[in-house]
Assembly symmetry: D2
Homo-oligomer: 219 residues x 4
């Protein structure tokens, strides 16, 4: 059983409130208003800037070269690739890269991103990984859960494009690698006495992810 | 004109949304449900733990001994005094110190506290001070604005006790000292080119403070 | 067996090169040139500024309130007391507080202090404690080892004053408390897989302490 | 006049003690014992690991995306390229990558690397850049100063290889880009009141670089 599975099982309610959020369900059926998705995607661009910073922090905090290389791959994946999906989709709505970068940051964006970063600075690499886990692994699970979904309606193609991105083999590999990387770190830094504190971090991060979906719905 | 005044004037809407929030008005009239205040106070205890960490971070980030001493005074004021007000008020409701420390953290508590801490770690002492300013200076202003308020109703004494604490000369001195300390730092680290970024920090922190009041109301 | 004892036993050569350094022996006999001691003491004042920062960092990195309080006591002990010993001794030689604060920092001072701080930022509270341990516990051991020493010569009173300070019950208590605090942290964060990395930190810190004595001798 | 030029001119003695160190002169003539160069190169490999961490920290601390991209390029340049030169040269002496990674770290390696990292964590991106500058820009200058040198003796080819690497257009571009990047940052974060503190950082970093050459000679 991986550390991720233990953490998820210990926080099933929070995990499901995030991975099975109404936003996600609307995305799979196509009932999600496109306005909600656009709000989400613009905030997610800002989110990815801070997530790049979190991966850079993981490079900094790594106890050895192999961890540094693993974190660097994650950093490059976001800055050299994942952010381009957002730029591409937004461009199709006439929203430029410059507009994206100057979007005012929503409270929910600040909440999750700063929580992840600060958790990493306060603690060690394992704390940082556990704070990152709901995002990285959760997106993979959401896309897999909805692999056969056929969204209907005006934004169907966009929603399918988003789901395909995270259901793709490259992204699924990222998620699996992350689970393994966390297990590797936990072999050195994990104790049973520490599990409850890690579980709180995982719980908080999952709830902040759910808040992030909710932000899209409420805008 | 102090840097604080410039920042406040540049963000009057956000500032008023915080310092004149419905929670504050209800506290002054006594119309605030006591449940809302209790929710707030318990979260504010968790908030103060992280604020102590923020002052400790300010000691760490200080460019010289006099800044370190100033930050240490702030740290001692919270850990050796301010937290006792919360413990005292909560004890009067039968909520123990242990219960306080194990209260689950609300999203809004995480949002503002981690934003402050992470802003300080990312930037310099001035960034950290600007992120702290809405809390430290705002509480003084709120208490002063409502110095002559006479809350009515069942929780009147508690609300008056809270207002008196922050209207007291010792706390007002803390706020004035903080304004001066920020000005002292800005004489070395402030440039006009940097003002807009500092203003964004101040704006975000003020909005996150307003969210924190709102949390109390909505619980 | 405390974690400290395990670390010391795993690094006996480095530990003795520090706690039984020629500087220490000269201090106990009185053969240490007063010039060497003055160089040391002025650098040690700068050292304590950074050590205060390290304790502030420990407050920031603490996983809970009791750790925060423990670290805050250490911070106050240095800034409100230990630095005064240096100011007092230096004043007796006509070296003012201002001169102390503007002494150029020696490479060896930078080396140990920045190593401690950065180790703490990179890792967790336990890493930081292990990096601090040689200084805090070692000074107590050195003073105890030389409790009955009677330095001779022109600087005898100064050397005895220094030894008495660290042999005093208050300082010995600080050292014992630190050993216990580290054990308390290790109950949550220590794994056997992690021991070798902690031992490297302890070894490096002990060697950097020995370099610090050597700096005094060579000036 | 770039910020780098101001800093260098304010610290010419420290700068020359580093860029015109006996180690450098011996490398250009070929009189440097190969043992000294091997000691240096093995420690420099450990140095680059921490320098990668410093660039990762620069990504984390960057105030915006363009700074993040600039820092990421630096990080990739070290981890994906510069470290390979060391591995290649060491392999030619029968020193494997594994041996390189487990070389005990010299005090001088710890001193400069931790100073750079901690300076960055304590302050802002500009502080970090100024601490990095002597290394990045200095190596470019050293290689340019000795562009026409023809080392003699048994290690001539190795020394020429090293000089060519840093005299190469790609590395010279790195140095020029770094000077520009620092100027860009200083346009936002630099004040005259701050110059003396930045100059102290530059001075300390230059002296720690000189210590690093000295370490090679003395081993």
């Amino acid at each position: 059983m991986s550390l991720f599975e233990r953490l998820r099982d210990d926080n099933l309610d929070a995990w499901k409130s995030y991975t099975q959020h109404a936003f996600v369900k609307g995305l799979a059926t196509g009932d999600l208003p496109e306005k909600a998705f656009r709000t989400y995607l613009k905030q997610d661009y800002l989110f990815l800037i801070h997530f790049s910073r979190a991966y850079a922090l993981a490079v900094y905090k790594s106890p050895g070269l192999s961890d540094m290389r693993q974190a660097l791959e994650g950093l490059k994946a976001i800055m050299d690739m994942e952010m381009d999906l957002h730029v591409e989709l937004c461009a199709s709505w006439g929203v430029s890269r410059e507009q994206l970068e100057t979007t005012p940051e929503a409270s929910q964006t600040m909440a999750y991103t700063r929580f992840v970063l600060e958790t990493g600075l306060r603690g060690d690499l394992l704390d940082l990984q556990v704070a990152l886990a709901p995002c990285i692994i959760g997106y993979g699970e959401i896309a897999r859960d909805n692999a056969s979904a056929t969204p209907k309606g005006p934004a169907a193609a966009t929603y399918r494009r988003w789901l395909d991105e995270y259901a793709s083999e490259p992204y699924q590999d990222v998620a699996v690698d992350f689970i393994r990387w966390m297990d590797k770190t936990s072999q050195i830094y994990m104790t049973e006495a520490r599990f409850s504190a890690l579980s709180v971090i995982f719980n908080q991060a999952s709830r902040l992810e759910a808040d992030f979906w909710q932000m899209g719905l409420e805008d």
